[in-house]
Amino acid sequence: MIDSDVITCDLTVIGAGMAGMAAAVFAADTGLSIVQIGGDSEIGFASGLFDLLGIYPVNDRRQWNDPWAGIESLIRDHSQHPYARLKTEDIQTAFQILLSFLGDGGLPYSRHLNRNVTIMTPMGTLKTTYCVPQTMWSGVEALDKKPSCLFLDIKGLKGFSARLLAARLHDNWPKLRTARISFPGTGAWGEVHPEHLANALIIKQNRKKLAKKILPHVKDARIVGLPAVLGLYQAQKVVAHLTELIGVPVFEIPTMPPSIPGLRLKEVFERGLREKRPHYFTKKRVLEISQRSGDMFEVNIGNQTKGRTILSKGVILATGRFIGGGLHADRRRIRETILDLPVHQPGSRNKWHREDFLDPRGHLVNQAGLEIDDAFRPLDKNGRPAFSSLFAAGSILAHQDWKRTKSGVGIAVATAFGAVKSFVHLCR
């Protein structure tokens, strides 16, 4: 590490959520030198599922089997949607690169290339998604084929009831049974936390003990589902080992946050990128971006104690929405927090949210965000790119509602790819 207060690189990536991480992966892949800054993101909450496009139009609750056809239909109606600025091949390439990066890091994902899948959520609803961690894949298949199956939950693990899940699926899946086990070594504890369980399962001995608890319940079950706490790292290995010990395939069921599959993503991104981008600041925030001389950006980062400056040709703003901190709202308006870029937003606060939380049309505040050109450059007041090589990606972008269209990770990854591609193009 160069211990200087100024770092020079090709591209500064601001944000360490799905969009920022994906952008770092894509940029590193093309050989650019990068610096990344970003703290807590939505990944810590997220389920680990990668949605691409599940529902559109939201008001009709139309579900798409083929996400590409869904995207086509969406961008036909909404030319300003971030997906409308991308070619299908680009989104496909983005997913390919990302999934192989994750696979190399020990976190393989599974999907059908051109088909969405259905997976059960911790509340027993069925969700349309695109890619799932491989440790969840047998669950996706089981939901389809409905073999004799056992769902297990864990004593003291809040918000996860195997019985509720099974009861909701039971009508179409009669051979579904449930049982509750206590996690080895937690007998005296009331509450068990997902992180503790996931950590414990990194150790082989604990897996054996867990298998012992599971075995008596297996009986005629051909497959066993457990909450997604099977290993903080290398979940693939943990699941394979448990499968071997129990004798039937084991799979994971998503949980509510805090979610272990989210932590796994974070870990794999950080480990996999460590060598490719030596400068990664998780405890500092970007305070200011300016472009004083020539084409170089000056990005000032800091915390209470110390600041630093990054000089780079390009900047990708992947700072997220309100959770991530890229957008902030006071009583009167929504702002972009670093550069005060214009934010597309409904006129006044009484239009931000609908009176009914579950209004099928969705809340207008979710459509707020940065407007961009076809090269993913945020626009200034006059509708022109604010800077020639400032790009934006991820949930901060306007004209999308990922929560309702089920497209969170899809938008983050695809737009990160688009932004990096534009930067590379510009450098040439």
């Binding site: 909450f45 609803t125 009831s161 309100f322 009484n350 931000w352 579950l358 929560k403």
Partner: protein
């Protein structure tokens, strides 16, 4: 169809209805109380919780002022466990009407209401968050009252004395015969089941719904509906209640309670008491106005808004605003040809006991019962199952006794599963069906900063696993719970609460797809 019999049927489970139930039960009169939703579902669960010293009304309505004064003194003695006697201030700031300020202490004296003038600096020493632009301050004997505890303790004692409580049962009609209500028709909101009650006397204590219910019996009451909205702050800003010293207007009152404060209110005319909804405009006007009194209210975090309806009962049929009575209305419908039907509406929480007494007096005369009213002298006993709504109680008990098994279902407000168990138990004992909504009403669940995001699904799965919640009430119950919480959230969604709302929607729509139904 099931038929129940009783001496007196009380319709409405707010402060007034539960107060009547206790009063009648103490006189040895047998009664059934029916409530369409749950205890305090109406104005009694959507108010400031201010036990008025009376000072607020000295100028506009001296009779109400005196009534409040007398009742407040009584209640502080008899219902002490529902009251925090924290005192109050009346303050004026630059720009407020100086004539009103000048007349204030004299008007209070005329109504026998004690006030103590304070120097401006003295007041700011007592309450450092007050504005630098203070021009006058008075100390008064305001107190805060927990309306939920109050109603629950009233109904608990009534139940101990034989009164029957039927929640989630709505009155949908009456059958009349010979100038009397012969039967009252009801429908259970959860099961859809219909049944009837035969009572000698029927009391309509439905507050803002009084005209609707009386209408079912063919009687016209003219009521104007005034919606008032309130905001809950994330932290407590003052030790005492702070009133703005000026003619009643928006955002005049800040009532601290536990670790939060309640700020309000507004007054907007609405057409239907079922259409009550705090709006963005009201919230903005409350914050803008109140910041003049306490500047920190501009920047503090708000966790929720809520709204209630004040029924303004007109004594004449003219509907003219000026003829509207500000006190309560006890309407004897024998004048309109129904001899066993009474309506009691309007008034204040502070005067609920008096309203109950007057109503019960009339009923006693009609029934020929000579037992006197005891609520003026008998203290309101504390009931253990009522305690859980007190903000700090669940955590206190949890820290003291907690067994390792006793998991916290709500982490914001530290509500453990033992509390949920105790509440489910008491609901079962009252022949009710525990729902997430009912647990939320009786505990702090859903009331902290996360507003149900996490505790909602956790409590649902917990209740299902215990066999207390049928499958077909799990997701519908969660949806209903979140929708209700949302009503109070949507007008205050900026800054940190907007982040919270984003997490809420990401989880419940993004992941669970609750908006997709089924």
């Amino acid at each position: 169809m099931q038929v129940l019999n009783t001496q007196v049927l009380i319709i409405g489970g707010g402060a007034t209805g539960t107060g009547i139930a206790r009063d009648l039960a103490l006189r040895g009169i047998q009664c059934i109380l029916v409530e369409q939703d749950d205890i305090n579902a109406g104005a009694s669960g959507a108010n400031h919780g201010l036990l008025h010293s009376g000072a607020r009304y000295v100028s506009s309505d001296p009779d109400s002022a005196k009534e409040c004064r007398e009742e407040a003194v009584l209640l502080k003695r008899l219902a002490a466990n529902c009251i925090e006697d924290i005192g109050g201030l009346f303050v004026a700031v630059e720009g407020d009407d100086e004539n009103y300020v000048a007349d204030f202490s004299h008007l209070c004296a005329r109504c026998n209401i004690p006030v103590l003038p304070l120097g401006v600096n003295e007041a700011r020493e007592l309450e450092p968050t007050l504005s630098e632009k203070l021009i006058a301050a008075y100390l008064v004997e305001d107190a805060s009252i927990d309306p939920f505890k109050l109603s629950m303790e009233n109904i608990s004692q009534a139940q101990d004395l034989g009164c029957q409580l039927l929640c989630y049962n709505k009155v949908i009609g009456f059958d009349k015969q010979h100038k009397r209500i012969r039967t009252t028709r009801l429908q259970n909101k959860l099961t859809g089941e219909k049944f009837i009650i035969e009572a000698e006397q029927v009391i309509n204590a439905t507050g803002a719904w009084a005209a609707k219910v009386a209408g079912l019996a063919g009687i016209t009451i003219h009521i104007l509906y005034s919606q008032g909205s309130l905001l809950i702050t994330h932290s407590r800003l003052t030790e005492r209640i702070v009133n703005r010293l000026r003619p009643s207007s928006n955002a005049d009152i800040l009532v601290p309670g536990g670790t939060v404060s309640i700020l309000g209110t507004t007054s907007i005319r609405i057409d239907d008491p079922d259409d009550v909804y705090p709006t963005v405009e009201e919230v903005d006007s409350i914050v803008n106005e109140a910041a003049a009194m306490i500047p920190a209210l501009e920047t503090i975090r708000y966790i929720r808004a809520f709204a209630g309806v004040r029924p303004l009962v007109s004594s004449q049929s003219s509907g003219d605003d000026r003829s509207v009575s500000r006190g309560f209305a006890l309407l004897d419908h024998s004048e309109e040809g129904l001899e066993n039907f009474i309506t009691i509406s309007g008034g204040k929480l502070t005067t609920y006991r008096l309203m109950a007494e007057k109503t019960s007096d009339l009923i006693s005369i009609r029934l020929g019962v000579s037992a006197p009213c005891l609520t003026r002298t008998e203290p309101l006993p504390e009931s253990p199952s009522v305690q859980w709504s007190e903000p700090a109680l669940a955590p206190k008990l949890w820290l003291k006794h907690h067994e390792p098994e006793d998991i916290l279902l709500c982490e914001c407000e530290m509500v453990p599963k033992s509390t949920v168990d105790a509440i489910m138990d008491s609901i079962r004992k009252q022949h009710g069906q525990p729902t997430l909504q009912a647990i939320g009403l009786r505990s702090r669940i859903g009331k902290g900063p996360c507003q149900g995001t996490f505790c909602g699904p956790r409590t649902t799965t917990y209740m299902y696993d215990k066999g207390e919640l049928p499958l077909d009430r799990c997701l519908p119950g969660l949806r209903e719970f979140l929708r209700k919480r949302w009503k109070g959230q949507h007008p205050i969604l900026w800054d940190r609460q907007l982040i919270q709302a984003e997490i809420l929607e990401a989880m419940h729509c993004g992941l669970f797809g609750l908006e997709l139904g089924a």
